[in-house]
Amino acid sequence: MGIKSYCFKKSLWLYHFAGASCNNCDIEVLDCLTPRYDVERFGMLLIGSVRHADVLLVAGSINKKCKSRLLEVYHQAPKPLVVVAIGACGITGGVFAEGNTFAGPVDKIIPVDVYIPGCPPKPEAILAGIVNFLNKS
């Protein structure tokens, strides 16, 4: 068992980073916590500080102003870390890719492990994405 799979064997803690998003992806991430989807039953917890996180969820496109913040957040996080790009915006920039403030999709800035497409992806899709990754590793 590699160190990576060892680290992700038990309860994952999630940190959610909202870039220049439209909020929908962020709301769907929060939705995963609420009674219908309830990720807490799997031991997943949304936490307020990236220093305690196993998973970094990045939603939304990244603009010039929040790019440095994303790097800062990434460097503060303990490794190994799963980075999940959520939504069309996180993966390619989506409708905002043409914007004059766009600073590149998430994977151009930090390494990304999981891509969850959709605009916005459904909460089920977000859960499935993370679970699939865990099964693989």
Binding site: C25, I27, T34, P35, C66, R69, P120
Partner: protein, 402 residues
């Protein structure tokens, strides 16, 4: 000189989903001034729109803000219809109104949940978000997506509501009504919530007028504005409903306004569905071939207040200029009034009370010590402070064992 502490909240804080930076200037526990910094969410949408066709602009404006993903297309459609001088068929008007009101219900429930979370009542958060789910299911039934509905186009709507869906809509709304009532009673009768929200973050009528605040923020301070009534559009003049206004201007009043609006919205939707039922299925859009040169303004009442879109066209198929003003843009400015003089734990609540949407306005806070520049509190600390306060109040009220 007197020492002041700066508490920065943000830009990435657990208080709100979106990034923004608030700096609270504090003297002891009391907030004496506030500054905020935005731009973390700037996407250059107005500029992007200039390179899109009118049909495509709808999909972009829908993604300005995911929570009000009807209001922006609605206002844009109003502006374009003003330029093209088209009359929208009645059936399309009713469908538009239904979608817009469903959105208001889900948005207000979302706010109630978040407000509950801020004061440390996670039960309210979980409840409100649970009862919001059936509304999202309804969206999925009608439009095929939980958010970002893609229902609008110039001259009408993209999809009709199926006849067999009427009863589903009414049934789900019937289910939501008692739940919302229960939630409202739980919030309004709770003595701890009274102590936390009454008299907090008061905005007087004059403040509202000075800062041009709109929507439920204004209506909770006795300013009777509502675009749905003042500048009628879609099916609002065709159904019976009333504008909810309260006088106190504090956080509690804002919660009451939002709760009562949920019930108004349910009644509007029910009336619209009845009208749709009576009319046989018919036209849902008019074909618009050319958009002439001109300019038009469109307004719509989003869950947070007035959305304003201004479009200039030159006879081609894309806008020359598209100006968007979202309600939070004006509402956020009222923080200067509502937070100053409050304790830090109340300030977070006052910040949340206007239901700011930073994706619309495009904005977080940390507390720093002004001498050492060390971070003393961040968003998380602020929430904890707020939650602790509720707990102490609870203890004092009900004794030790609660």
């Amino acid at each position: 000189m007197k020492q002041k502490t700066i508490i920065p909240v943000g830009p990435y804080h657990p208080l709100q989903e979106e990034p923004e930076l608030f700096k609270l200037f504090c003297d002891g526990e009391i907030v004496t001034d506030i500054e905020w910094e935005t731009g973390y969410n700037h996407r250059g949408i107005e500029k992007i729109n200039e390179s899109k066709t009118f049909e495509q602009v709808f999909f972009v404006v829908e993604r300005i803000c995911g929570i009000c993903s009807t209001s922006h297309p609605f206002a844009f459609a109003n502006a374009m219809e003003e330029i093209a001088q088209v009359k929208v068929p009645d059936r399309a008007k009713y469908i538009r109104t239904i979608i817009a009101e469903l959105e208001r219900i889900h948005s207000h429930l979302l706010w109630v949940g978040l407000a509950g979370h801020f004061i440390g009542y996670n039960t309210v958060f979980m409840w409100a978000w649970k009862y919001r789910e059936p509304i999202l299911d309804l969206f999925e039934i009608i439009t095929g997506n939980r958010n970002s509905y893609a229902m609008f186009k110039i001259g009408g709507v993209r999809r009709d509501i199926d006849e067999k869906d009427y009863s589903k809509i009414l049934k789900i709304l019937d289910g939501v009504k008692p739940k919302a009532e229960m939630l409202m009673k739980a919030v309004i009768d709770d003595p701890v919530i009274h102590m936390r929200t009454k008299g907090i973050g008061i905005l007087t009528k004059q403040d509202i007028l000075d800062y041009c605040a709109v929507g439920p923020t204004a209506r909770a301070s006795g300013v009777d504005v509502d675009i749905r009534r003042d500048d009628p559009y879609a099916a609002y003049p065709l159904v019976n409903w009333k504008v909810i206004v309260t006088q106190e201007g504090d956080v509690f009043a804002k919660a009451v306004v939002r709760f009562l609006e949920i019930f108004e919205s349910i009644s509007i939707i029910e009336q619209c569905v009845e009208k749709l039922r009576k009319d046989p299925p018919g036209q849902i859009d008019v074909k618009v071939k050319n958009i002439p040169e001109g300019n038009g303004a469109g307004r719509a009442e989003a869950p947070r207040g007035e959305v304003f879109h201004y479009v200039i066209t030159d006879g081609s198929n894309s806008p020359v200029r598209h100006k968007i003003r979202a309600p939070s843009y004006v509402n956020v400015a009222t923080f200067k009034k509502s937070c100053v003089g409050q304790t830090i734990s109340d300030a977070t609540l006052a910040l949340a009370a206007v239901d700011p949407c930073y994706c619309c306005t495009e904005r977080m806070a940390h507390v720093y010590d002004s001498r050492t520049r060390q971070r003393v509190l961040d968003g998380r600390g602020l929430i904890q402070l707020s939650q602790q306060r509720t707990q102490t109040l609870k203890k004092n009220l009900f004794g030790k064992n609660t």
